[in-house]
């Protein structure tokens, strides 16, 4: 697959649009279909395609393994942190109404950060699993 020029050119054309579509799905999730989970998976799929076309190392150059591992935890912590922000500002856990003087804006703010958290974790987990699966064959070849 790496040496087929047609696949190379088509994939390189597609990857920016896949990543852009992931961002659209993320930030347009309040209005149309989509949200954090879908955005995270689509973004990861774009990076996976880059990894298939240009090799695993090229994908790891864009999102290094350490960053991907941290993303897994950062997303969950962000989500849980929004919950604690609710407590600090005088509400219940995951209460978005208190996040802004205007309760509706508070809801929007809460949903935004929670969705970012979901996207970051999902993207990190998908990429980490891909890196581990794709990397295993290389370890075997080294033997």
């Amino acid at each position: 697959m790496r040496h087929d020029p047609i696949l190379q050119v088509v994939a390189r054309l597609l990857i920016p649009f896949i990543l852009l579509f992931a961002l659209y799905v993320q930030f347009h999730g309040d209005f149309g279909p989509g949200g954090g989970f879908q955005a995270g998976v689509i973004f990861a799929a774009g990076i996976v395609l880059h990894g298939l076309i240009s090799g695993l190392d090229a994908a790891k150059k864009i999102l290094p393994e350490r960053l991907v591992e941290s993303m897994m935890a950062i997303g969950v912590l962000l989500y849980a942190g929004v919950g604690f922000a609710g407590i600090v500002l005088g509400g219940a856990y995951l209460d978005y109404f208190v996040l802004d003087p205007n309760p509706i804006h508070g809801q929007h703010r809460g949903i935004f950060w929670v969705e970012v958290g979901v996207a970051v974790t999902v993207c990190g987990v998908m990429l980490k699993i891909f890196y581990m699966f794709a990397g295993r064959g290389d370890v075997d070849q080294d033997d």
Partner: protein, 192 residues
């Protein structure tokens, strides 16, 4: 006219899915089988799209047809492309699965009609979400409002499950790599 087109768009992919499942069961070339599971996921995504569940369709296309296909191909690279013929005849299991499928179909007869507004599931909290969410949360996509706000705890749990799955894969695969290195070191030690 539009309803008729919807029915056609629903039935054609579902018939194709049946054919694909048959090919997956009988196929012995695992590369072909993996590609067929990807085709199955795309057909499923089409069905979900026609049923107006675009979120689920997106997830099915990206996870089912995209990432899991890549992971299965990665697994095939390690274990080879051809499946050996089964050592036994699976009649017993076939009968049990067939009986279960028949039971489920009998149960389906008792379900309310698809998208029936009088169905029990649409009588509980759904009307409140649909009517109140525009005032309380003011997010046009009610699915997002329910997932991220009304059911925020559930989604936090789901995100934690995804995180745990990733952590589990790391725990399983990384230890194996370290063991292999240890194994090699001890082998070299034995040789000298």
């Amino acid at each position: 006219m539009n309803l008729w087109l919807d029915q056609l768009l629903l039935l054609v992919p579902m018939a194709m899915m049946l054919v694909v499942v048959g090919l997956i069961i009988t196929g012995r070339n695992l590369f072909g089988v993996v590609v067929l599971t990807s085709v199955y996921s795309f057909l499923m995504a089409t069905v979900l799209f026609v049923l107006d569940a675009v979120d689920v369709a997106m997830t099915e296309a990206a996870v089912g047809a995209g990432i899991s296909t890549v992971l299965l191909l990665g697994a095939l690279r390690l274990c080879g492309w051809n499946d050996s013929k089964p050592m036994y005849r699976p009649w017993g299991k076939l009968i049990v699965s067939g009986a279960l499928a028949a039971l489920l179909m009998v149960g389906m007869v008792g379900l309310p009609e698809f998208s029936d507004p009088a169905a029990a599931i649409h009588q509980h909290v759904a009307p409140r979400y649909l009517i109140e969410s525009s005032k309380e949360i003011d997010v046009p996509n009610v699915v997002t409002a329910v997932l991220a706000s009304y059911r925020g705890y559930d989604t936090l749990g789901e995100t934690t499950v995804v995180f745990t799955a990733g952590a589990g894969v790391i725990a399983l695969l990384r230890r194996r790599r370290q063991e292999r290195i240890k194994h090699e070191i001890s082998e070299k030690h034995d040789a000298t």
